[in-house]
């Protein structure tokens, strides 16, 4: 066995490389096989599996309305609505979240400028839609929470990993229903993201994108409640 680091072997590095795929339900037999023979890696694997089980056992709670404001602020601060910047690239530039204070200060200046110069009449004010389309007001409300970040997209991703790991235990017709709904929601997420790349000020696409993520989280949470025989 080649020893590369302190107590770490080439197998350990391969374990790390394939661990994510294994946790996402992909076929990676090397991971459990290596964990059986390596104490260090076995502990890592057991910790991750315990975290996943604990997450599943958590009570399902509806996120507070401010969650959507967090997401909006996070997306806005990450440049998701800027021109010529892809939504995912902007989202990945969440290095901004590591420096919340200067970002918040800059954002407050931007908001103040918007408030002073933007027109006062917003027809959407009369809307009874749950998600506000007013960037200025939602930005003011959410700036205070910038940095905490709902990380809704991360939550959805983790829920989907868990769902994929357990979907084989669902009844076929139940699984098909969930799959169809996820396909529909993923299509809407893609289209809205594309729209926002082309039209960063498209409030309708913004609202639908947030709604799609929220609905996807609800669908995945619902799916995780069901196992064969429950």
């Amino acid at each position: 066995m080649n020893e590369i680091g302190q107590g770490r072997t080439a197998g350990c590095y391969r374990f790390e490389l394939e661990l994510q795929a294994y946790m996402e339900g992909e076929d990676a037999p090397f991971v459990p096989a290596h964990a059986r023979g390596c104490v260090f890696c076995r502990v890592i694997l057991e910790d991750l599996e315990a975290l996943r089980a604990a997450a599943l056992a958590l009570p399902l709670e509806e996120p507070s309305p401010s969650v959507w404001s967090y997401v909006h602020a996070q997306l806005q601060a990450a440049g998701a609505f800027a021109e010529k910047v892809s939504f995912w690239d902007g989202f990945r530039q969440l290095g901004l979240l590591r420096r919340p204070i200067p970002v918040a200060a800059f954002a407050c200046m931007v908001v103040l400028g918007c408030l002073l110069t933007a027109p006062q009449d917003y027809p959407e004010l009369d809307m009874t839609s749950q998600v506000s389309a007013l960037p200025a007001r939602s930005a003011v409300r959410s700036m205070a929470f910038l940095g905490e970040g709902a990380a809704l997209e991360q939550v959805v991703r983790e829920l989907e990993v868990t769902f994929r790991a357990r979907e084989s235990s669902l009844a076929p017709d139940l699984k098909a229903t969930y799959e169809n709904s996820l396909i529909s929601l993923d299509a809407s997420i893609r289209e809205c993201s594309d729209s926002l790349q082309r039209e960063p000020e498209n409030s309708l696409a913004h609202d639908y994108l947030l709604a799609a993520y929220s609905q996807k989280a609800e669908v995945l949470s619902s799916a995780l409640e069901f196992d064969e025989g429950r």
């Binding site: 009874t128 229903t177 709904s181 529909s184 064969e228 025989g229």
Partner: protein
């Protein structure tokens, strides 16, 4: 000779009668036995506004309101490996809460064998919560302060309802007929169908399903319908008085109702199709949203 002939005749006649009787018993005994083992009929005395919950995996659930302070429950299962658990709180006296839950004795049981059907008559004013994962739910002639119905693949039909209604089905269709009070209906791939609502507040949303609204908009009502890629059809009478806000990003907007267009302040550049206007005196508020579907507003 005649006696012997007569005896033979009687004997021949007796046999068919006997066989027929046995045959009838065999034919009837099956369903009778099945009825005895699979169907249960119970009546519970309740307090004025009890809370009733039903948790089921497959099968039909029918709930009707009545004016008795009782819950009359009839439920049946297909498989002997399925039972219905009933919990009454408190155990003695009029029930404040009754929980019905379908329980699988065999965790390997799949498909239709999991079926349990319910028929409930419940007092008006009951707080009702129904979860029927892959089965249909039907609620008729009911008044409830707080009614929740959820399904994954089943369809939901609610008719002649008064109160606060929350309905959600991931993949099933939702039909709300003649509802008043407050209604919220959500689906992802299912269709939404509203007929003659007189609600003060109505919310409906589906991602890829279709929305069909047939009826008037009562004065002061607040109606908000949203779909992503399906089509939305609004059929209302010429006398409907409402303020409209309709918007679609990539879809089409088709309106047949004469409108007084509202002046809109400058909005960010967008490829959206939108219509903001008032029909007659604008006494109700109607908010329609679609991303890529077509919104059609027509006179009924």
């Amino acid at each position: 000779m005649a006696d012997r002939r007569e005896q033979k005749t009687k004997k021949r006649g007796a046999i068919p009668y006997g066989q027929g009787l046995v045959l009838c018993l065999l034919v009837l005994s099956g369903p009778l036995v099945a009825a005895d083992t699979n169907r249960t009929d119970k009546t519970f005395e309740t307090s004025p506004n009890p809370r009733i919950t039903v948790a089921n995996a497959r099968g039909q659930i029918l709930v009707r309101g009545w004016d008795k302070a009782q819950v009359h429950a009839v439920y049946g299962v297909i498989s002997p490996h399925v039972e219905v658990d009933t919990e009454v709180v408190p155990p003695n006296g009029p029930a404040d809460k009754i929980h019905f839950a379908t329980h699988l004795l065999d965790p390997l049981l799949t498909g239709r064998d999991q079926t349990a059907d319910y028929s409930l008559d419940v007092p008006m004013g009951t707080n009702l919560e129904i979860r029927n994962t892959q089965g249909n739910v039907r609620i008729e002639r009911f008044q409830g302060d707080d009614t929740t119905v959820e399904s994954v693949g089943g369809s939901i039909l609610v008719s002649d309802f008064t109160g606060h209604l929350f309905v959600r089905s991931v993949g099933g269709n939702i039909d709300i007929i003649r509802a008043s009070g407050r209604v919220e209906a959500y689906s992802i791939t299912g269709d939404l169908h509203f007929v003659s609502p007189t609600t003060s507040k109505l919310r409906g949303s589906t991602t890829s399903g279709r929305i069909l609204f047939e009826g008037d908009f009562p004065d002061g009502g607040d109606y908000s319908l949203s779909e992503y890629s399906g089509d939305m059809d609004i059929l209302c009478p010429p006398s409907a008085s409402f303020e409209l806000s309709a918007k679609t990003d990539r879809g089409k907007l088709q309106n047949e109702m004469p409108m007084t267009i509202r002046h809109q302040a400058a909005t960010p550049l967008s490829s959206a199709n939108s219509l903001f206007g008032t029909h007659l005196t604008g006494k109700a508020t109607v908010n329609l949203r679609s991303f890529s579907g077509t919104i059609r507003i027509r006179q009924r």
